[in-house]
């Protein structure tokens, strides 16, 4: 499997094609339903965001609590589709990569092509396996949201497949 470093570089994004499996290593942020809603509200009000969206990769995930002696608990992807209403706006603010599971809507596919982003899928129901592919985790914002808070994550050889590439090619809509 090809290895890709995060944050994503433009060359890497442009060279990745739909259906290709790669291992991601480097920093990203977790964010799911409620965190998306809060970031979105902050953007609407023009408030300062707790994370720098520019060039970032977002993983749709809410982990189980971390047991003693481990980096993170179970941490597989959640269904990406629920984040669809927020994704084009996130791309317009500079987010480059998304990691989740399952199909996306047409608007997301078009926005990914327009802003030269990329959507990866990883494996739903493999949270224990994926917990071994994360080297570091820190709480960043929205602690009150519990598992839905934003975490800084450092991935290490984290397996993903390109599901929508920067040319708008969609694995689920071939």
């Amino acid at each position: 499997m090809r290895k890709i470093e995060l944050p994503l570089k433009e060359d890497d994004i442009l060279s990745l094609k739909v259906g290709e499996w790669v291992e991601l290593s480097g920093p990203c942020y977790s964010a799911r339903d409620s965190a998306h809603k809060r970031i979105f509200e902050a953007l609407e009000k023009g408030e300062r965001l707790p994370i720098n969206l520019k060039g970032s990769t977002i993983y749709y995930m809410g982990p189980t609590p971390t047991p003693p002696g481990r980096v993170i608990g179970s941490c597989g992807p959640t269904t990406s589709k629920r984040m669809d209403p927020f994704t084009p706006r996130f791309l317009s603010f500079g987010v480059k990569g998304f990691i989740g599971k399952g199909k996306r809507g047409k608007e997301v596919r078009e926005a990914i092509e327009k802003f030269k982003g990329i959507y990866f899928v990883t494996i739903g129901g493999a949270g224990a396996y994926l917990s071994e592919k994360i080297k570091d985790m820190k709480l960043v914002a929205y602690e009150d949201l519990g598992p839905e808070a934003i975490y800084y994550l450092e991935l290490y050889r984290f397996p993903v497949m390109v599901a929508i590439d920067s040319y708008g090619e969609d694995f689920f809509n071939k």
Binding site: T64, P67, R70, G76, G125, L130
Partner: protein
Amino acid sequence: MRIIEGEEIYKLVKKLIEDANFDLPLSILNALKRAKEEEENPNAKIVLDILIKNAEIAKEKRIPICQDCGMVIIFLEKGEEVCIKGPLEEYLKKAVREAYLENFLRSSVVKDPLLRENTNDNTPPIIHWEIMPGDKIKISVMIKGFGSENASTVKMLNPTLEKEEIVREVINHVKEYGPNACPPLIIGLGIGGTMEKAIYLSKKAIFRDLYERNKKPHLRELEEEILDKVNSLNIGPGGLGGKTTALDVRIEDYPTHIAGLPLAINLQCCAIRFKEIEI
């Protein structure tokens, strides 16, 4: 009349919840291994290999099989000649609370569906009762994540529909919602009864043994036909292609009204977490 202390039920339910979250049923693990051998699609092989490793890591290192530790659904089938002492609902809540907090399981339940404040202990569970003859109690615990719960549905069909149209309803539903529901799936179908009875049956179908068919020949045939057709959709493990979209299809049926044909479609994800015990 046999008497069982509520405290005993609490201890058993707590243990069932813990086991379910860390220990994929052996029959399912073996089915994944078989599927990996039989798959030719390279994506399917990658996904199945990871799902098998996931089950092994979850068990060995006590990391939950899935980060969505679900809502807890408790099915209690109580014999007519047995009585449970004590505030049972409180005991069941206590079992959930302690199992989730002591084992680092994710609390995913919100108090109010609109206000959405987390209860922080995954309570309350969903509790279903049934009465059966005898003096035994059967307790079944299911952990249902919402990736697959959101992909489940009930349809109130026209009673004059032909069998082929029922098959088409299921296939179209799986085509649309299957890829997001973490396949390989087990598809539980509840046919007949009323709306809620059909849904209940589609949930209970998940407890059936793998490949155990409905006893009625025409329903057994329907199960086999749907399984074949679902596995020809090329959805595959993780929705990434292959012939293992579903490990099994189970139909549970009940008498229904002359005007109706309820059909509940329950998509169970690959993180199949259930345990049961009879006492």
